[in-house]
């Protein structure tokens, strides 16, 4: 269990996945960010292998690397006029602090909690078992998930496709544009005259 390979595998994979995740953060170009993301996914898949969850690892590679990442690449390519740089918003400072806090909290919990952990070999783990549990105790979530995927699929299609009535923007938004308060300050709302108990 404490074989060198095991150590090596864990550490390298951990470094890869975390490093790749950091790469998503630092890379200047969105495409590169996606590449790093894929790398991170792969790293996590490796960690699954280390955890001897082969089946999940496979799914991970298939779905994340195969589907999601590609999907994102497509999305990026489909939005040519949008900025391609991987820039950050003014939220980065609070985000940094928050990241620190959250990570700290999680690490604290991970380290300080006395988990009922055991180190001996895990119960044999096979796709079949998972499949069985899917159609036994977890059949209901399974059904729901199926519906969910359908819903998402159809929804995504409904959103993405061009419908005849969408040609002109809906007047609602135009009206909103017209009434939209200026970008600076809250802007005097039309009711400032008498909105309430004070005058």
């Amino acid at each position: 269990m404490d074989s060198v390979g095991y150590h090596l595998a864990f550490w390298s994979l951990a470094v890869i996945s975390v490093g790749a995740a950091l790469g998503v953060v630092v890379s200047r170009n969105l495409i590169h960010a996606v590449i790093f993301l894929i790398l991170a996914f792969v790293g996590v898949a490796g960690l699954y292998l280390v955890l001897s969850a082969e089946f999940i690892a496979v799914v991970q590679v298939l779905v994340y690397v195969g589907a999601i990442s590609v999907l994102m690449l497509f999305a990026i390519l489909l939005t040519p006029r949008a900025a391609r740089d991987n820039a950050e918003t003014s939220m980065r400072y609070p985000a940094t602090i928050l990241m620190g806090l959250v990570t700290a909290a999680m690490v604290f919990v991970a380290v300080e909690t006395d988990w009922a952990a055991v180190l001996d070999d895990p119960v044999a783990e096979s796709p079949r078992v998972i499949g069985q549990s899917l159609i036994n105790e977890f059949v209901l979530p399974f059904e729901i998930a199926a519906v969910l995927l359908t819903a998402a699929l159809v929804g995504a299609i409904a959103l993405a496709r061009e419908d005849p009535e969408d040609a002109p923007l809906h007047d609602e938004s135009l009206a909103m544009e017209a009434r939209r308060p200026g970008p600076h300050g809250p802007g005097p709302s039309p009711d400032d005259g008498d909105g309430g108990g004070s005058a």
Binding site: M106, L159, S173
Partner: protein, 104 residues
């Protein structure tokens, strides 16, 4: 020392944090989605780790859980990207800084 549960949890925590940062700080909506995906991966990793290290049939339920998460994550991304497309069609941008017609 031996590689125990904590190690994987810490790795998960780190990835979660980084994902959070990406989600909170990146300007491009798609990048934000990437961040979310990272966070979900962290959760998955944590779950699988629990499945490996804490006894009983948790293994099953954890991995099943992960399955569901992966599935929904995919669905989420699909819908998200679709919405991003719509926004792009309307506004020629998917920068979260400019997606603020509505405020106050």
């Amino acid at each position: 020392m031996t590689i125990g549960l904590e190690h994987f949890l810490v790795v998960g925590a780190l990835i979660f944090g980084i994902g959070l940062y990406v989600a909170l700080a990146k300007r491009n909506a798609i990048a934000v989605l990437m961040g979310v995906e990272l966070m979900l991966n962290a959760v998955n990793l944590t779950l699988v780790a629990f499945g490996r290290f804490t006894v009983t049939d948790v293994a099953l339920s954890t991995q099943v859980f992960v399955m569901f998460i992966i599935a929904t994550a995919a669905a989420e991304v699909a819908v998200g990207l679709a919405l991003a497309m719509v926004v792009y069609r309307n506004r020629d941008t998917i920068s979260v800084d400019r997606i603020n017609l509505m405020r106050w």
